[in-house]
Every structure is written in structure tokens, then in C-alpha cells.
């Protein structure tokens, strides 16, 4: 370990303060509460809340939902990864951008869009009525089917991204080598291609499972009487039963962290990689015209289905308020919904709140995330791997749980709250967003620092540059793309955050997502849809720029 300068020591102190105050301490408070009865007495039996029949059924439902989500997402994601890698699809890059749209869409937007598309009063149902003069609700879209549909919609792109990046790394020569050694097509597929994909499939499965366990919006809106862990925690909290809420939260966290542990274990294992000169050859095996036409048609239809909910949202954002119950195809288009949002302070404030909170969350994660990465990678700080593990924990802690833990920890003044009761203030929201997203930024910074060849800094030193100059001119600019990319991701996640916001907001700190939800509650579809579209556009613009900066990121081969 190199000696730390006083600036670095200060940075380390800030990071340790943050880690303890906003991750360790809230989790301790949560566990303590889970063992406390409603009357305030501390007893192990309080935790039995987590094993009551309704809790057990909620746990089993959540697990079952996650398993189904993983299977469904895997099926679609892997299928498209395969098609896009090996078949000839027209406008390939266009369609491959389309099919990853859901991964960037805030979960609540997806939920609302599906609601408007498929529910009893949704677009499809209205269209059928309009065209065929059919009456009323032909089908209902709720419960398990609705939740699973939305989950698969939101999570299959993760499988697609993981598996297609693994497919891209497969050297076409290994496939040719297998054929030339006399292996059949199926033997080659199962013995050469699949083994190289398994690590990516495991990774995607674990991440989708965790995301599905933590999912709140879909079960919340469509769950009805079905119990799921996240929604049970929410209702227990709203009913004032902190103890039961905490017990369930601990349960959920244990399951999620178990999967995080598996994920970290799997990532630490070595993957197949051989370094050689030259570039791996990629092959397109779709020789047969029929197959290419089939998969192209399929891709076009599927891409249409992917953007359909978003177009529904766009369509409804131009429909006058209160038309949902009527036959809105007859109504004229209007910009009224948008002008209301931008015109009236009451409707515009949520935007300001969301933007401010997201920017603050980004600032906090950048300072803590980049600082930690710097100290771990560049300064080899003692115990750095423990610090990294603790700061990665929030990746496995669902938003509902973080919000609950924050409420329990910060509802009275302490050194971590700036000596005020933080609950109910503006600041608790960006703080929660920052903690939730810290792992993303820290990991992208760590890999950013790792990807810098140490000899660049050595070259700078040997030419007489100080540590500060080297960071400003060489290291800083080189990690910038990685940090910016992480920061934009944090921004996207924060601006549409709903899960922890719904537990932490007050009237004056309403965010866009809360406003969408409350407009929905009041059947103001037009307003909800316009908010949704604006939020969607903000996210897409940010994604566009983050992809641009990634493309521009540099490296000497």
C-alpha cells in the first residue's frame, strides 16, 4: 500500500462515513426493527411476522414470479441474440436498438403504457369496440398474466445484451475448427457454442431474478389481491406496522443478497478467453433464404410490439382529459395535456424536483463512487475489497427495503441527518437514489481505472509530471467515458424512480413518477400519458448521448 496524502485520507474518511451512515446503519436499524414488537419490546418472536401464512405465500409468489420471469426473458432474449448474430436481418442496427428500448424505460412507464394498451378501457379494447361495435370489456388484463407480460417486456433485453455480447466474442474459427474436425452441426452447437454462452446466461439469470424479486410497480398496479413481497412491505408500512414491514424486508433482502453473492462468485470465476493476434472472425450462418425471411418478419413484428405500448402512451397524451371512459377515437387531438404541465407550477414542480434530485444523486454517487474506485485501484487502500463489497450491497437490496430502512434510521436527528429529522424532507430522496445507484457508478469507475494501462501513468511520471497533473491530463480524461456512462445511468434510474419514492415523498417533494401515479389514480389519463412521454424522451435522449460517448471512448490497441 502506498502512503496516502492528506487529501486522500480525507476522501477515505468521507467514504467510510457514508458507508457506515447510509448503508450499514440503516440495515442495522431495519434488522433491529424486525425483531421489535409493535409495543417497542425487542424479541426474536417478532420476526415470526415473516413466517405468517400470508407472508409465506407472498414470498413463494415472489419467487415463482421471478422464476417465470427468468424463463420467459431468457427465451426471448436468447432467441433474438441468436437471430441478430447469425441471420441476415435488414436494418440490423436499427432493430437491435429498438428491441433494447425496454431496458432503459422506467418501470412505471412500462406499467402505465401496458395499462393504457391492454386494460379493459385500454386502446385495444376501445379499438375493437370502435371498429366492430363490440361492447365493453372483452378481456381483462391484470394479475399474474399482466405482471409476467410486463416483467418479460422489461427484462428480456438483459438476456439479449448478455448473450449477444458473449456470442460476439465467439471466434468463428472455433466453429469452423469444430466442423473440420468432423463434428456435426448439433454437436458443434452444444459442445462449442453453448459452453461459451453459459457464463453469460447464468449472469443474466441472476440479475433478472434479483430485479424481478425487487420489482414493485407491476405487482403494485396489477397485483390486485395477489400478494408479493414488495407490495406486502409497502402495505404493512402504510398501515403503520413497521415491525411486520421490517421482517418482510429482511426476508426479501436475504433472498436478494443470496443471489448477489452468487453473482459475485460467478463473476470472480475465470471465463474462457484466449488471447491471440488478429481479430476473431464472425460468421453469418443464415445461408437459407427462408430462414432469413422468417426471422426478419418475426423481428419486424416483435419490434412493433415493443414500441406499441410507447405509441399508445404517445397517442393518449394527445387525447383530452377525462376521455378514457368515453369512446376517445372521436375526440380531436390536443396539446392541452402538455401545455398544462409546462404552464402550471403545480404540474411543473414534480419535474423540477425529479431533475434536482437526480442531479444531486449523480453528484453524490460520482464523489463516493469514483473516490472509492480511485482508492481501491490506484492506491491499493487496505481493506479495499471489503469496502467495495459493502458499497456493492445496495445492488442486491430492493428499493422498497432501502426506503423502509431510511425511514427507520433517519426519522430523528443524528450525525447522519445533519441533526434534523430527515424523513419528510427533500434530501432523503436523492440520498436514497444515490445509495441505490452507487454500485453502478463504483463498478464502472473501477473497471475504468483498471482499463488504464499503468505504463501511461509511469510514462507521465518519468517525464516529470506530478500526481495531480497526471490525474488531470491522463487518468482523468481516460476514465471520463466510464464515469460519464455510469453517471448517465444513475441519472436515468433516478429520474423515473418510483419504488422508494412512493415511501419517502411528501406533497412538496412529489416527483414525476409520483405525479404519474396520482394522475392515474384520478383517471387523468392524458396528464399521466404526457408525463410518461416526457420522462421517456428525457431517458432516451440521455441514452442516446451515453451511447455516443461510449463510441467515442478511446484506447490504444
Amino acid at each position: 500500500m502506498k502512503k496516502l496524502s492528506s487529501v486522500n485520507k480525507f476522501l477515505l474518511a468521507v467514504i467510510i462515513f457514508f458507508t457506515f451512515g447510509y448503508i450499514i446503519y440503516p440495515m442495522i436499524s431495519l434488522v433491529r426493527e424486525s425483531f421489535t414488537l409493535a409495543d417497542g419490546s425487542f424479541t426474536p418472536t417478532a420476526f415470526l411476522n415473516a413466517f405468517s401464512p400470508s407472508s409465506v405465500s407472498a414470498t413463494l409468489n415472489s419467487i415463482l414470479l421471478s422464476v417465470i420471469t427468468v424463463i420467459g426473458s431468457a427465451f426471448i432474449g436468447i432467441l433474438f441474440a441468436y437471430i441478430f448474430q447469425y441471420h441476415r436481418i435488414p436494418l440490423k442496427s436499427f432493430f437491435s436498438s429498438i428491441i433494447i428500448i425496454p431496458v432503459a424505460t422506467p418501470p412505471l412507464i412500462g406499467v402505465v403504457a401496458f395499462l393504457f394498451l391492454l386494460s379493459e378501457n385500454g386502446l385495444i379494447s376501445k379499438l375493437l369496440t370502435f371498429v366492430f361495435g363490440m361492447n365493453g370489456s372483452l378481456f381483462s388484463f391484470d394479475g399474474w398474466a399482466a405482471i409476467i407480460t410486463i416483467h418479460v417486456y422489461s427484462f428480456y433485453p438483459l438476456f439479449y445484451l448478455f448473450v449477444s455480447s458473449a456470442l460476439k466474442k465467439i471466434d468463428g474459427n472455433t466453429i469452423d475448427a469444430s466442423y473440420s474436425l468432423g463434428a456435426s452441426k448439433s454437436k458443434t452447437f452444444f459442445n462449442v457454442i453453448v459452453p461459451q454462452l453459459i457464463p453469460s446466461m447464468i449472469g443474466a439469470s441472476l440479475i433478472v431474478f434479483m430485479a424481478s424479486m425487487a420489482s414493485f410497480s407491476a405487482p403494485f398496479i396489477f397485483g390486485g389481491s395477489e400478494r408479493f413481497l414488495t407490495t406486502e412491505i409497502y402495505s404493512a408500512k402504510i398501515n403503520g406496522d413497521n415491525s411486520a414491514a421490517s421482517s418482510l424486508a429482511v426476508m426479501l433482502t436475504i433472498i436478494s443478497l443470496l443471489f448477489l453473492l452468487l453473482l459475485r462468485f460467478y463473476r470472480s470465476r475465470k471465463t474462457y478467453e484466449i488471447r491471440y493476434k488478429g481479430t476473431p472472425r464472425t460468421v453469418i450462418t443464415g445461408h437459407k433464404k427462408g430462414i432469413n425471411i422468417l426471422s426478419s418478419t418475426f423481428t419486424v413484428i416483435f419490434s412493433f410490439l415493443i414500441v406499441l405500448p410507447i405509441f399508445t402512451l404517445l397517442f393518449l397524451s394527445f387525447i383530452p382529459e377525462g376521455s378514457l371512459m368515453r369512446n376517445f377515437f372521436a375526440e380531436p387531438f390536443t396539446f392541452g395535456n402538455y401545455s398544462k404541465i409546462f404552464g402550471e407550477a403545480q404540474f411543473f414542480d414534480p419535474f423540477i424536483n425529479s431533475l434536482q434530485m437526480s442531479v444531486i444523486a449523480v453528484a453524490i454517487t460520482v464523489v463516493i463512487g469514483v473516490g472509492t474506485a480511485f482508492l481501491i485501484v490506484k492506491k491499493n487502500v487496505k481493506g479495499g475489497n471489503y469496502l467495495e463489497s459493502i458499497l456493492s450491497l445496495p445492488y442486491g437490496i430492493p428499493g422498497t427495503v432501502i426506503a423502509l430502512a431510511f425511514i427507520l434510521s433517519f426519522n430523528f436527528p443524528s450525525v447522519f441527518t445533519g441533526f434534523i429529522a430527515l424523513v419528510g424532507t427533500f434530501w432523503i430522496l436523492p440520498l436514497a437514489y444515490a445509495v441505490r445507484n452507487l454500485p453502478i457508478l463504483m463498478q464502472s469507475s473501477i473497471s475504468g481505472f483498471h482499463s488504464i494501462d499503468p505504463s501511461l501513468e509511469e510514462a507521465s511520471f518519468s517525464m516529470g509530471a506530478t500526481g495531480v497533473r497526471t490525474f488531470r491530463k491522463i487518468t482523468g480524461p481516460l476514465i471520463f467515458p466510464a464515469v460519464l456512462n455510469g453517471a448517465l445511468l444513475v441519472f436515468i434510474n433516478s429520474i423515473g424512480e418510483f419504488v422508494s419514492t412512493i415511501l419517502l415523498y411528501t406533497y412538496s417533494t412529489k416527483t414525476i413518477s409520483i405525479e404519474i401515479y396520482s394522475q392515474l389514480r384520478m383517471y387523468n389519463t392524458g396528464a399521466a400519458a404526457s408525463y410518461g412521454i416526457i420522462l421517456f424522451l428525457i431517458v432516451m435522449i440521455v441514452v442516446y448521448f451515453s451511447r455516443k460517448t461510449l463510441d467515442k471512448s478511446v484506447g490504444v490497441s
Binding site: 494501462d453 510514462a459 518519468s462 509530471a465 497533473r469 491530463k473 478511446v554 490504444v556
Partner: protein
């Protein structure tokens, strides 16, 4: 320009001694190579000279001044890295300007210096290109220009040619020698390629297992190796133990000594009856033929080399041959070395 003294340098990583009590003198303006197999400690030694590692004991002295504990920033030693270490976020011009800006060089002087150094490495037409767009050979020249423009007292080269293709390597090697001679900066060059070291250097230090085996001019280390390691590493010499050299050449080496003969010093004649060796492989490389010969009644394989224009008859795999030491053996004294 400077002379460099390496005094009793010792370095351990964990419990393994990488360098033990190393002493080397590099003279002013000299092109000095440190050559040895991978893992011999040559890169560690280079990094210690550059201040990127610090020795456990011993001293690094430049121009009589002890710099052992100085950080790299204060050493005025330029380093050309194996992977060039060009700053990918900067252009060719900015890379070269980097060191000069640190020296607070006057703007107009800076521009002139950069232009003239770009001229020297023939890259004037790529001044404002991004370094990532350059070929390997061009990147190599930029990394050299970046170092010489700051006029360091010493330049360190860490296997700078190993990432280049064969023909480019030869070309860049010649270029490098020309530049070093023109600029005249004392240079320390680390490589595992003995041909490269022989071709480039004024003097060479042969390293093995953290110990200097021999220091001398290319001719000295090639023709007068001091031990069997140098003989086989530098000249690919064949080593014959006491029994073999007595049997084949009727030369008594004495106990625990070996006779070292370079591949081109052994003359083969076809002898189906009495021949002491049997040809197991023939490799034709154009200007020369390399024979692998198994000594009869032994599993010892030796290699010999003869030019294709020489008078010796061309032999085939399976031929029995007798072995003789060439009359042209340069110093006509036999190399009898410690095992």
C-alpha cells in the same frame, strides 16, 4: 548525456530474489543492452533505474549523483515502453508536447523542438493525427520522439520492438540505431532477443536469474563467452561435456568443464563407417542450412550451421557424419568453460 553506475542493487519480490548484488557501468553516450531470458530480472532492473520500482539495497548513480531514492519525476530519465504508452486522449503533437510543457518550455521554442523531432522520426505529416490511428511502427516512433524531445540524461528502452512484425522490427531497429547515434543520448536497452542486442549495442550485459553473467562488446560475448549460459544464450553454442569432447574431438576439457562450439564452427563430412553423428533433421533457411545431429550411442542432439555457398557437401537426414572443428575458429583457441 550521462554515465550510469549500478551499484550492488538487490531486489526481492515477496521472498524471491529478482536481482542480487548487481553491478553495471554504462558509459557516456553508449548504447548498452541488458539481455536475458524472460524472468531474469532485466525489466525490474530497468524499472529501478527509471524510479518506477525501488531497490531493497544498492545505489543508482547518474553522473556521480546518487538518485536511488528520487521519484521518477526528478530523474530526467526517459522511458520508451514495450506497449509505447502513448496517451490515447491526445494527438501526436500533444503527446510530444506533454514533457516540454512540464519543463515550462517557451511556446515558440516548444513548437520548433516538436517540429524538428517530428522531422527526425519522419512523422511531420501526422502531426495532428490521433495516436490511436497510427500503425505500430509509427506509434513506436512517436514514443521515441516524445522521449528525446525532452533531452533526458538517459533513455531506457523496455523491449520496444517486441510488438512489431518481423520486417518492421528489423527496419525500426536500424532506425533506432541511427537515431541514437545522431542524438547521442546514453541508452539502456532491455531485450530477450540476443540478435537485437548484438546488432544494436556498443556493449551488452547478459543476465540470468538476477545475476550478471558477463558484460562486454557484442564480439566479446559472442566469441568469448565466460560461461556456458552466455555461450548457449548468445551464440546458441553446442556444449560438449568431458566424455563427449574426448570421444568426438579428442579434446580433454577437465572435470566439470564443457567445450563450447558455435553451430558454424563444426564441419561435417559424410562418413558411413566411422561417423560419430547421425543427421536427424535438415532445415534449409535460404542463406544457410541447419543440421540437427544425434551423437551415436547418446541422446545428445547438437545443431550445426553452414552457409549454402560453402564448399561442404549437402547432406541428408539419416546420413552418418564425422564432426571436425573449423579451421576458421576465430580466435583459434578453444572455449573450455565452467559447466
Amino acid at each position: 548525456m550521462a554515465n550510469l553506475e549500478i551499484r550492488n542493487i538487490t531486489k526481492k519480490f515477496n521472498d524471491t530474489e529478482v536481482l542480487s548484488d548487481m553491478n553495471i557501468d554504462v558509459r557516456q553516450g553508449e548504447f548498452f543492452s541488458i539481455v536475458g531470458p524472460s524472468g531474469c530480472g532485466k525489466t525490474t532492473l530497468l524499472r529501478i533505474i527509471g524510479g518506477l520500482e525501488f531497490p531493497d539495497s544498492g545505489k543508482i548513480i547518474v553522473n556521480g549523483k546518487d538518485i536511488t531514492s528520487l521519484p521518477p519525476q526528478k530523474r530526467k530519465i526517459g522511458i520508451v515502453f514495450q506497449n509505447y504508452a502513448l496517451f490515447p486522449n491526445m494527438t501526436v503533437y500533444q503527446n510530444i508536447a506533454y514533457g516540454l510543457e512540464i519543463l515550462k518550455t517557451d511556446k515558440s521554442v516548444l513548437k520548433n523542438k516538436i517540429n524538428s523531432v517530428l522531422d527526425i522520426v519522419s512523422l511531420s505529416h501526422k502531426t495532428n493525427n490521433s495516436v490511436t490511428s497510427l500503425s505500430g511502427g509509427e506509434q513506436q516512433r512517436v514514443s521515441l520522439a516524445r522521449v528525446i524531445v525532452t533531452e533526458p540524461e538517459l533513455i531506457l528502452f523496455d523491449e520496444p520492438l517486441s510488438n512489431l512484425d518481423y520486417s518492421l522490427r528489423i527496419e525500426t531497429r536500424n532506425e533506432l540505431k541511427r537515431l541514437q547515434r545522431d542524438v547521442g543520448i546514453t541508452s539502456v536497452y532491455v531485450t530477450h532477443d540476443q540478435t537485437e542486442a548484438l546488432a544494436l549495442s556498443d556493449r551488452i550485459a547478459v543476465l540470468n536469474k538476477g545475476v550478471v553473467q558477463q558484460t562486454g562488446s557484442p564480439y566479446e560475448v559472442y566469441y568469448n563467452p565466460k560461461n556456458s549460459f552466455t555461450a548457449s544464450f548468445i551464440g546458441h553454442a553446442n556444449l560438449f561435456d568431458e566424455k563427449n569432447s574426448e570421444q568426438i574431438f579428442k579434446i580433454n576439457t577437465g572435470k566439470n568443464k564443457v567445450l563450447a562450439l558455435l553451430p558454424e564452427e563444426i564441419i561435417l563430412t559424410k562418413d558411413d563407417e566411422e561417423g560419430k553423428g547421425k543427421i536427424t533433421d535438415v532445415q534449409f533457411t535460404g542463406f544457410s542450412i541447419e543440421y540437427s545431429i544425434q551423437i551415436i550411442n547418446s541422446d545428445r542432439i547438437i545443431k550445426t550451421l553452414c552457409t549454402t555457398t560453402s564448399e561442404t557437401e549437402h547432406l541428408k537426414t539419416g546420413d552418418r557424419v564425422s564432426l571436425k572443428i573449423s579451421e576458421n575458429n576465430r580466435d583459434s583457441n578453444l572455449r573450455i568453460l565452467d559447466k
